[in-house]
Symmetry: C2
Subunit: 295 residues, 2 copies
């Protein structure tokens, strides 16, 4: 299977499983489920679950083992976007070319849809872990994910990001925001695949390092696209970071330096992935694809 | 120890442990931690952790085993209050006589403080579970708690509550709201204590049934206090349910019927608790105290 076929295959696996998880109504919670589905199926790249599946495939043989965790990662990512888009946060009307959750369902339901996705992610993972004979790697994965999205991870990054709007911040704070708001969940995705694939500890560490480089590269590419991107391809406004007086890599260091840094980070990630030889072809192509992406 | 001493003892245990969990700053996330602390130490009754500790004490001998879960229950309860109070939800300026989180820190930080408390609750529980030799009961407890607060529990109840504002709803929907928004976490608290205390399955079921009755009684008492209560004692406005055109037990059935129903539910709970003889004195007194509480 070539890169594009494999990517399509992974995404289909994730979408099918996500659909079955969201086939969940009890006659009362239909608005909640509908609003969760709206954002979960609004055209996301499925990057985090794909990273978890591809990382798992380096080490394990039964990809279904990692599916609940891959889907949970996408739910958590979607929750973070719904809350980020709220008027009290980034106040975005569009994402991926569609109206944001609160523009459709109102702020109250949007907050609850985010809360619901975060809780449901844990429900799904815990349900799976509670059925395992040897729950160790599963509990460890849920813990890694919880740490990545918690108050020393994603939420901390989002808080500092919110507090930094309109302020001039230094490289250290900007890197703290990027590492926590974006890279932490990407690291957790790659680590989860490795841990559930029963990878040796040095390989789990290797995935962690690759994730840090990839995650940072991914966010800086995002910042670059906010300056140079095409609104049609991105599905959201261009220049919104500038409008909100957000400090970004391009704003602090210029476009050229930012592009070079993305290249350097991607090469760092690739040098870690290449040791898995043929098995890591997919992840290497994905890494290069993310560097050049236009959306 | 008499009831009041025991209650004080439990609350002190919880407060000390919560303080140590929130002693957690890394130089960047201080606003987040401060806002989480603000609501966590704003005078809550600690009902859910106390229920978990008291339920544990019916069966187990090492109360420290249940402490992370008891504290997590209080964090989750606090998260739900912070989000409920937001302008897009109940739009409350005061709770327990103090300004609500968003009135102090703004809506953005308040949303993140709620998200942070929910995530941190899972972090704490998973950290504990991952260290256990026999993680079964711990994973089961986390799963019970996740289910109780998730999209077939608390969040579903909150969604239906939000959707029902200004509408006339029937008893079935009102009971759905109360059971999910309030009783589910009270049930989970009592069950968690029993499960981690290694109670036999029939006792776990008994705690579940007692929790359902107590949880419903607790919420209807809340509705009654919204009509008859004293603002000074309650620390929030009286009549806010009526102002928001919320359907409540007193609104649907009148005060007298509501008071009688609280009594009946409390007696149901007590008839389940009394089987543990002397050991359940505390829970019986707590149950009666909740029925008569003025705040």
């Amino acid at each position: 299977m070539n890169f594009k076929e494999q990517l399509k295959d992974y995404i289909e696996l994730v979408n099918t499983r996500l659909s079955s998880y969201l086939d969940y109504e009890n006659g009362y919670n239909s608005t909640l489920i509908e609003s969760m589905k709206y954002s979960l199926f609004a055209g996301g790249k499925r990057l985090r679950p794909v990273l978890a599946l591809a990382s798992y495939d380096l080490f394990g043989d039964h990809i279904c083992e990692v599916m609940p965790y891959a889907c949970a990662l996408e739910m958590i990512h979607t929750y973070s976007l719904i809350h980020d888009d709220l008027p009290a946060m980034d106040d975005d009307d569009y994402r991926r070319g569609k109206l944001t959750n609160h523009k459709i369902y109102g702020e109250g339901i949007a907050i609850l849809a985010g809360d619901g996705l975060l809780s449901y992610a844990f429900e799904i993972m815990l349900d799976d872990a509670s059925k395992q004979k040897d729950p160790g790697p599963y509990i460890r994965s849920i813990k890694e994910i919880a740490n990545a999205v918690g108050i020393s991870g994603m939420i901390a990054g989002q808080t500092v990001d919110l507090e930094s709007e309109g302020k001039v911040i230094d490289k250290k704070i900007l890197e703290y925001i990027h590492l926590n708001k974006t890279a932490a969940l990407i690291v957790a995705s790659l680590k989860t695949g490795a841990i559930i694939g029963r990878a040796p500890e040095r390989d789990v560490k290797c995935m962690e390092q690759a994730g840090l480089n990839l995650g940072l590269a991914f966010q800086i590419r995002d910042d670059i696209l906010d300056v140079t991107g095409d609104k049609g391809k991105l599905g959201k406004s261009i220049g919104s970071d500038i409008d909100r007086h957000k400090s970004t890599y391009p704003a602090l260091f210029g476009l050229e330096t930012s592009v070079a840094y993305v290249k350097e980070l991607t090469e760092n990630a690739n040098s870690l992935l290449v040791r898995y030889k043929d098995r890591s072809d997919f992840l290497l192509e994905l890494s290069n694809y993310l560097t050049k992406r236009e959306s």
